[in-house]
């Protein structure tokens, strides 16, 4: 129970921070995306899948897209990150390594969102993102995300500590 509450608070706080965080040009860091990546990278149980799904769903609720698009995109990206990390890599944590993962994961999320939107607009007339996005804005987005990986990584460690602390309390009752 403590775990669910702490995860929910973390997601809502990062969503709120994403909404009000000042923009640089037309770009801004995507804190919920970073949370998804960091957990997919670190966790070995299924927690990261739930977290990825609900992080995406939180973005869906406040975004101008079809409900479920970010949820599915984050979920698939998280699974791929986790699978590739566990299967093909065994190196220790390094900034360069995480930087590559964040960059590739962001490109994957953008691709998935674009594909899912393209599939969805066959039933609707609006197009929430455009091809123009891919060429003019994406690189600044990635740069800003790379800047904020470390704070989000530290936040994930803090969240785990809190979960361990309160889980012990729950156990003692």
């Amino acid at each position: 129970m403590a775990k669910v509450v702490i995860y929910a608070i973390t997601v809502i706080l990062l969503l709120a921070l994403s909404i009000v965080f000042p923009k640089v040009g037309a770009s801004a860091p995507s804190f919920l995306f970073l949370l998804t990546v960091v957990y997919a990278f670190r966790k070995d149980d299924s927690d990261y899948l739930w977290l990825a799904f609900f992080s995406g769903l939180a973005l869906d609720l406040y975004s101008n897209t079809f409900l479920g698009i970010f949820a599915l995109a984050f979920l698939i990206t998280a699974l791929i990150i986790n699978y590739t990390t566990r299967t093909f890599f065994s190196s220790d944590l390094s900034f360069g390594y995480i930087g590559v993962i964040v960059t590739l994961a962001y490109l994957l999320v953008v691709g998935l969102v674009y594909i899912l939107n393209s599939m969805a607009i066959r039933f609707d007339t609006t197009l929430p993102i455009s091809g123009e996005y891919l060429t003019t804005k994406i690189w600044l987005d990635i740069f800003l995300n790379l800047i904020f990986v470390a704070p989000i990584y530290l936040l994930s460690l803090l969240t785990d500590r809190l979960i361990n602390y309160y889980s012990k309390d729950e156990g003692s009752f």
């Binding site: 009000v20 923009k23 801004a28 899948l49 101008n64 897209t65 079809f66 699974l79 986790n82 929430p128």
Partner: protein, 264 residues
């Protein structure tokens, strides 16, 4: 065992996501969205204050940087005064923006409702604003949103207490417009690179720099005669069938704090 469980969770969530997507495509997801937004709303209010502090924080550092170049031995007292000065400057700017908005409201013939900007689209995929007024204030989808007399966007979704604005600079945004001086009609479209572009102007149209661009009023929601901005640079060639030019808004769309919504 663990990977089997992960696969089970993944399949369940994929199914749930596809159900939500299907509901959304068929326009049945509004109740879910409204319910889902409610728990986070109080935190969004709290964080909008913190977000504004970020702006003060960054402007504080930029001002300290320039002062350090002039005098490397700033005392702690001077630093405190700088901080106060930044805060006062923020208040002054906020005051000026409020006065400008109020001045336009008094002159305008439209029925305007004031709103505060709570935040922007968190996904970064589109250029939206979230306002602190919704159905309760009589806001409807499609209503024009103004700042200091300039059209900045239109309402694209409304719930009980908040509404979402699609900015004119978003590539999804298209607005029927005309050049005020000549009456030539075109379409103003958002653009990531140039902010706004007026296009589909006929080759015979005379387009000059700084010409005013107004709404044409061809759609029912946005009234005619609202100022969108001024013509910047002509982008089309003489050989092009239709002309296009950049449009520069009179307001800074990245730093909007107070806006007005036309309530008809």
């Amino acid at each position: 065992m663990r990977s089997k469980r992960q696969l089970g969770v993944f399949s369940l969530l994929i199914f749930l996501g596809l159900v939500l997507l299907t509901l959304s495509i068929n326009g049945l997801s509004k109740p879910i969205q409204s319910t889902g937004v409610q728990p986070s709303r109080p935190l969004v209010y709290v964080f909008s204050g913190i977000g504004n502090s970020f702006k003060s924080f960054f402007s504080y550092f930029s001002s300290v940087g320039s002062v350090n170049k002039k005098n490397a031995s700033l005392s702690e007292q001077v630093r405190k005064l700088q901080q106060e000065n930044v805060a006062l400057q923020q208040y002054r700017l906020e005051n000026e923006k409020l006065r400008a908005e109020l001045d336009y409201r008094q002159k305008s013939a439209h029925n305007l409702v004031s709103a505060t900007v709570l935040g922007k689209d968190p996904s970064g995929f589109s250029q939206n604003l979230i306002l602190n007024i919704g159905k309760g204030a009589g806001i409807k989808v499609g209503a024009a949103v103004l700042s200091e007399g300039f059209l900045i966007g239109k309402i694209v979704s409304v719930d009980s207490f908040t509404s979402k604005v699609l900015l004119v600079t978003d590539p999804q945004s298209t607005i029927d417009a005309q050049i005020s001086a000549t009456g030539d009609n075109g379409i103003v479209r958002g653009s990531y690179g140039s902010g706004m572009i007026i296009e589909n102007l006929s080759q015979s149209a005379v387009v000059n720099k700084d010409d005013r661009v107004m709404t044409a009023g061809l759609s029912t929601e946005i009234p005619k005669g609202l100022l969108i901005g001024n013509v910047g640079q002509l982008q089309s060639q003489k050989s092009d069938l239709l002309q296009r030019a950049t449009v520069i808004s009179g307001v800074d769309l990245k730093n909007l704090e107070f806006v007005s919504v036309i309530k008809e």
